[in-house]
């Protein structure tokens, strides 16, 4: 596959290394000439191009039109947005992937049609949340352009659902409990499954129902 990466920082260079190892045709764009020279020494000059990935002339020169995927991994969300949007709109590139530094920008990326985004900040934040917060609904991921969410909660003794069977819960519409992790073992969820303290419950639901599920599972704060 022909993969164009925009942004020769740490993320870009390490990603490029791995993709080159996998025998892909990889081109890393970097606008700073000195940084590009360093990258050429590391990756081989056939894998590096000096230029601004936001500019049409660069996009034309490196062949955005025949790229299988364009990946924007600069440290600036606005640059990543413009690279991906122009790849899609001007060059009809099917697959684009953007690094999003400020997780609150993920929604606007999705709204303009950049469906694949990765936010290191968001991922680290979610991991920390999982370790810290009992009795909170933690988003693990999103499907269908963010319309469906996968959420997890860890039940404390104060959760109102402890001791109840799954079939007796009034779940929000279209909500499924898909998995319970108990004592390090995954459980297949059945109607008779009784919820216990310490259970990690994973559910799949439409994102606008998350608040209803939270109300059901999470004890009201005193």
């Amino acid at each position: 596959m022909y993969m164009i990466l925009v942004g020769g920082g740490n993320v870009g260079v390490n990603l490029a290394k791995r993709l080159i190892q996998r025998q892909h045709e990889v081109l890393l764009l970097e606008k700073d000439a000195r940084q590009a020279t360093r990258l050429s020494n590391m990756l081989g000059e056939e894998h590096v191009y000096v230029g601004d990935g936001c500019e049409l002339s660069t996009q034309k020169a490196v062949g955005f039109g025949r790229a299988d995927v364009v990946i924007a991994v600069t440290g600036e969300d606005e640059d990543n947005m413009v690279v991906c949007q122009m790849a899609k709109v001007v060059w009809s590139c099917d697959r684009v992937l953007a690094r999003v530094n400020d997780p609150s920008h993920e929604e606007i990326f999705r709204q303009i049609g950049i469906d694949d985004t990765v936010s290191a900040t968001g991922i680290i934040f979610n991991l920390l949340e999982q370790q810290i917060a009992k009795d909170e609904l933690i988003p693990l991921g999103a499907l269908a352009k963010g319309n469906i969410e996968i959420v997890e909660t860890v039940l404390s003794s104060r959760s109102p659902v402890v001791g109840r069977r799954v079939r007796d819960l009034t779940l929000p519409p279209q909500t499924n409990i898909v998995w319970i992790l108990r004592d390090g073992q995954g459980l297949v969820v059945e109607g008779d499954t009784e919820l216990k303290v310490g259970d990690e419950v994973v559910a799949l639901l439409p994102s606008d129902r998350a608040e209803e599920l939270r109300m059901l599972f999470v004890p009201t704060k005193v």
Partner: protein, 150 residues
């Protein structure tokens, strides 16, 4: 009276703000507090320090109730991103972006944004001034840009 939010207090943003503040309610967003000096000491604008691609900053500037949004910083991509947030998230009805790169302006114009390319305007005005032709509508200068043909 219109409620106007301007992102960027450079020469363009400050002139625009001062000009509009006589008859409209103007808020200026600027990251660099030093740049706000361009507004002088007796201006009528509300000022918010921060970035126009930060939703919290936009909300403090009253983007939710704005009739018009101008993105006029030096950064084309910041302007474009701020404009898209203003359009999609806050449904601002009138949006105008300053874009230095005529190709980028062309791409976003096709997506329905009003993009002004200042270098193209100046070149067009000057050329018509020299040949003593009447000045044309702004969009003609915007799109007649020679650089676009390269």
């Amino acid at each position: 009276m219109m409620r106007v939010v301007i992102f960027g207090c450079g020469r363009t943003g400050s002139s625009l703000g001062l000009m509009l503040a006589k008859n409209h309610q103007v808020t200026v967003i600027e990251q660099n507090p030093e740049a706000l000096r361009r507004l002088g000491t007796r201006h009528q604008c509300k000022v918010v320090v921060g970035s126009g691609i930060d939703e919290e900053v936009l909300e403090r500037a009253g983007i939710g109730e704005a009739d018009v949004f101008f993105a006029v910083t030096r950064g084309d991509n910041s302007n474009i991103m701020a404009a898209q947030i203003a359009r999609l998230k806050y449904k601002v009805p009138k949006i105008c972006i300053k874009v230095a790169d005529p190709h980028r302006a062309d791409a976003y114009r096709k997506m329905g944004f009003e993009c002004v390319v200042s270098s193209a305007l100046i070149a067009g005005f000057m050329s018509d001034w020299m040949t003593e032709q009447p000045f044309r509508p702004i969009d003609e200068y915007n799109t007649l840009c020679e650089e676009l043909k390269l």
